[in-house]
């Protein structure tokens, strides 16, 4: 027998937890692509993939296998080191941000007190992967795509940050678990209602942040082929793809945690339904809320045409930013006046 030091066990435990979080996430990404193709297909009156496996259920597996077997091409003019580092830089923050997401009461990998700040920091780092990819590719399309992404993400980060400020003002904490606990009560004490404009701005900025339609000028097939990842193939391309979808799921999870009460049951405070559904784990409710947002992502993509570049800038700077600032002011007044069920004990709690 040999003694294992506490540190070693700790590291091992953490590694195990990371696998427990990331493996379902990867599976989620795979089946999100399937859901995307099916749902958009249905909205276009087609039926989507249905050939691989029953009803096409094995399609994402086949796609993954194909991408793994494809050749990775390094363009002659590319900066080789940066070219390879870029996809890693874009996936790492998308995965690392999951450390502070509370899946249920107390079920969180790292119970950071500055969780919200950590999230904000990591989602901003993600853009480096895209910018570096565009630069390292030494291709004009990739470069244009990278420039667009950089400008767009920087603009929407601000509106997003202000929306988060609204949440932390209401909750009086940066800890995501505490934010969810502060929303406890019923469906209408969740922050989506008092912070409705911030909620809308946050989710739409999230769509812009992940470069999804209708804010996907970074890819803009019609003008710049595929944007920052034109030169990428095989697994390097797959990793960008993975990062994009992991980010989508992350934004969905964050929107649920910050505005829709995370793991809280929607039947809380309702006489008959609450005790009846008490056995349902919080994780289930969180996943339900996340899938609503993910569906919205796909629904948007099937509905809206792409914004022009200057329209995106206008929306970010001249609409979202003033709206958030205005609502922060309104919220400040409401907190001072200790309004309704939402802000009654914010000052007292501090």
């Amino acid at each position: 027998m040999f003694e294992l030091s506490d540190t070693f066990i700790n590291v091992l435990w953490n590694l195990l937890m990371i696998v427990v979080i990331v493996a379902p996430l990867m599976l989620g990404v795979a089946y999100l692509t399937y859901a995307e193709r099916k749902i958009i297909g249905y909205m276009q009156v087609r039926i989507g993939p249905n050939r691989v496996g029953p009803k096409g259920w094995l399609q994402p597996i086949a796609d993954a296998l194909k991408l793994m077997l494809k050749e990775i091409i390094l363009p002659t003019g590319a900066n080789k080191a940066l070219f390879v580092v870029a996809p890693i830089l874009s996936i790492a923050p998308a995965l690392a941000a999951w450390a502070v997401i509370p899946f249920d009461d107390g079920l969180v990998l790292s119970n950071l007190d500055a969780g919200l700040l950590y999230i904000l920091a990591l989602t901003s780092v993600g853009v480096y992967g895209v910018v570096i990819a565009g630069w390292a590719s030494n291709s004009k399309y990739a470069f244009l795509g990278a420039m667009r992404t950089a400008a767009q993400v920087v603009s929407y980060e601000i509106a997003m940050g202000f929306a988060l400020v609204g949440v932390l003002m209401a909750a009086g904490s940066l800890n995501l678990g505490d934010i969810v606990r502060a929303q406890e009560g019923n469906l209408f004490t969740w922050y989506w209602l008092p912070l409705l404009p911030l909620f809308v701005v946050y989710f739409l900025s999230g769509v812009a942040e992940t470069n999804r339609a209708p804010f996907d000028v970074a890819e803009g097939e019609s003008e710049i082929v595929a944007g920052f990842h034109v030169e990428y193939s095989g697994m390097t391309f797959a990793i960008f793809f993975l990062a994009e979808y992991a980010n989508m799921i992350l934004i969905a999870a964050l929107s649920s945690v910050l505005f829709l009460g995370g793991w809280l049951s929607p039947f809380q405070g309702i006489p008959v339904l609450d005790p009846l559904t008490a056995w349902v784990p919080g994780l289930f409710w969180l996943l339900m809320k996340m899938s609503i947002f993910l569906f919205l992502f796909l629904w948007f993509r099937a509905t809206f045409p792409r914004y022009r570049y200057d329209q995106i800038m206008r929306l970010g700077w001249k609409v979202f930013l003033p709206v958030t600032i205005f609502w922060l002011f309104v919220e400040g007044v409401a907190i001072y006046a200790e309004l309704g069920p939402w802000f009654s004990d914010v000052l007292g709690a501090r």
Partner: protein
């Protein structure tokens, strides 16, 4: 008043929600997709697919090498060469003389399917209903010059699909 409605519409994202409503409704529409190898689209008797040369009931080929099809073909996909038939020649005593001996017949009838635009003019021009287009649309070539089909191949296709062809010509004949 109109201005207020307009402002309300903008800030409630009314138009965007309406757009989402449209795609939301389409989500539940009946799908148009045809599961191709299992399901196939219906065909008209006038369907213009792969070409074929037909024969008379006694086995004699219909084509009389008039070259009207070659002349009318807008893509110039048809190449015909003709000569009097020397098969079925009688012996020295004149016995065994076939009524087909010496008839004008094609010695070469090639269609380049890469050039062909499947307009059906050849079929329309033909005075003896020899060259026709079948309902076959699932075929492929395995070599570059495989796109040129010869007289023998055309006759073979005709023999294979004669039953269907006769019915289709009969149905369509009323409108010719």
């Amino acid at each position: 008043m109109e201005k207020i409605i307009r402002i309300l519409k903008i800030w409630t994202l009314w138009e965007l929600l309406k757009g989402l409503g449209v795609t939301g409704r389409y989500l539940f529409r009946k799908k148009f997709t045809l599961n191709y190898p299992e399901e196939k689209a219906p065909q008209s008797p006038r369907f213009r697919g792969l070409h074929a040369l037909r024969r008379y009931e006694d086995g004699e080929e219909r084509c009389i090498a008039c070259k009207l099809c070659e002349a009318v073909c807008p893509a110039m996909a048809i190449t015909i060469e003709a000569a009097p038939r020397d098969e079925d020649a009688p012996d020295q005593n004149g016995a065994g003389l076939s009524r087909n001996y010496g008839n004008r017949r094609t010695t070469r009838y090639d269609i380049d399917l890469f050039k062909c635009i499947f307009c059906g003019y050849c079929e329309e021009a033909c005075p003896v209903e020899a060259i026709v287009e079948t309902r076959v649309y699932e075929y492929c070539f395995e070599s570059r010059n495989g796109s040129v089909i010869t007289k023998e191949e055309l006759l073979k296709i005709g023999d294979q699909h004669e039953a269907q062809l006769a019915v289709d010509l009969e149905v369509d004949g009323r409108y010719r």
